[in-house]
Symmetry: C2
Subunit: 141 residues, 2 copies
Amino acid sequence: LETYNLYEKGIEDLIISADKVAHVQLNNPLEHAMLILIKSGYSSIPVLDSEFKLQGLISQPLILDSILGIERIEFEKLGQYVVKDVMNREIPFINENEGFFKALKLAIDNPFLCVVDDAHTFKGILTRRTLLKFVNRYLHE
Amino acid sequence: LETYNLYEKGIEDLIISADKVAHVQLNNPLEHAMLILIKSGYSSIPVLDSEFKLQGLISQPLILDSILGIERIEFEKLGQYVVKDVMNREIPFINENEGFFKALKLAIDNPFLCVVDDAHTFKGILTRRTLLKFVNRYLHE
Ligand SMILES: Nc1ncnc2c1ncn2[C@@H]1O[C@@H]2COP(=O)(O)O[C@H]3[C@@H](O)[C@H](n4cnc5c(N)ncnc54)O[C@@H]3COP(=O)(O)O[C@H]2[C@H]1O
Ligand SMILES: Nc1ncnc2c1ncn2[C@@H]1O[C@@H]2COP(=O)(O)O[C@H]3[C@@H](O)[C@H](n4cnc5c(N)ncnc54)O[C@@H]3COP(=O)(O)O[C@H]2[C@H]1O
C-alpha cells in the first residue's frame, strides 16, 4: 500500500506506450487512415511524422467532412488526399515529466492526451479510462 | 467546505438533466438521427420511446455501417430505415439512486452513463467529464 502524495505523483505508470497506440503518418492517403480507424475501432488517433514526432490527430468525422461533396460523399477523394491535408493540428498533449494533477485537469476536457518528451517525440497516450481506473483504486485505499 | 464520505455520496448533482441531452426517438428515420448527431456534435446519443423510456444508443459509425453497400455508402437508405433498426440495445445505464462509486466504476469502461428511475424513464446522463471535474475538485480539498 503506497502512501500517496498525489501532488508528487508523476504520470509514467499511467501512460499507454507508443507501440500500443494506433496511429498514422502525415503522408498516408485518407483511404489508409480510414482503414486504420475502422480496424482499430478508435474514434480519434495521433498523426506522427517519419521521426515519430507528434503532428496532429485524425478521426472519421474529420475525413468524412473533407470528402463531403454537394450531392454525395466523394469516396474517390480518399485516394487523392493525405492525412496532413485534413488532420486537426490542435493536439491535447502533455510532457512526460508532468504531474498527475496536470493530467487530471487536461482530461476534464479531452478524452485522451498525447504524451511527448522535450523534443516533442511521441511517447504514448494517457486516457480518461486509465485515469478513472487509478482514481477509483486510490479512493478505495 | 463539505466533509465528504464518498461512500455515502449520491449521483444527483453529477447528472446532466434530460432536457440538456441530445437524443432521438425509436421511429425517427436514420436521416433525422444523422442530422441530430452532426448538429449536436456528439458521437453517441440516447434513443428514447414516446414515453421517454430509454431504449438504446445511436452513433454515426452505427448508421454508416448499416448503409454500407458493396460499392458505396447507400445514402438513399437513410430515408428507408429507422433508428430502432440499427441502434445498440446494450446501454450503459445507472439508477438515479445509485452511489458515486458505482458511477465511477462504470465510467472506467463507458464514456457516459444513462440515468434512469425505477420505471426505466430517462432522467439524464452522467459523463466522464463531470466525474473527472468532481474528482479534481475533491482531491484538491
Ligand atoms: N478496442 C477497445 N477496447 C476496449 N475499450 C474500448 C475500445 N475502443 C474504445 N473503448 C472504450 O471506448 C472509449 C472511447 O473510445 P474512443 O475510440 O472514442 O476514444 C479513444 C481513442 O480516441 C483514444 N485511444 C485509446 N486507446 C487508444 C489506442 N490504443 N490507440 C489509439 N487511440 C487510442 O483515446 C480515447 C479514449 O480512450 P478511453 O480508453 O479513455 O475510452 C474508450 C474505452 O473506454
Ligand atoms: N459540444 C461540446 N462542448 C464541449 N465539449 C464537448 C462537446 N462535444 C464533445 N465534447 C468533449 O468531447 C468529449 C467526447 O464527446 P463525445 O461526443 O465523443 O461523447 C459524449 C457523448 O456521446 C455523450 N454526451 C455528452 N454530453 C451530451 C449531451 N448533452 N447530449 C447527448 N450526449 C452527450 O457523452 C460522451 C462523453 O461526454 P464528455 O463530456 O465526458 O466528453 C466530451 C467532451 O469532453
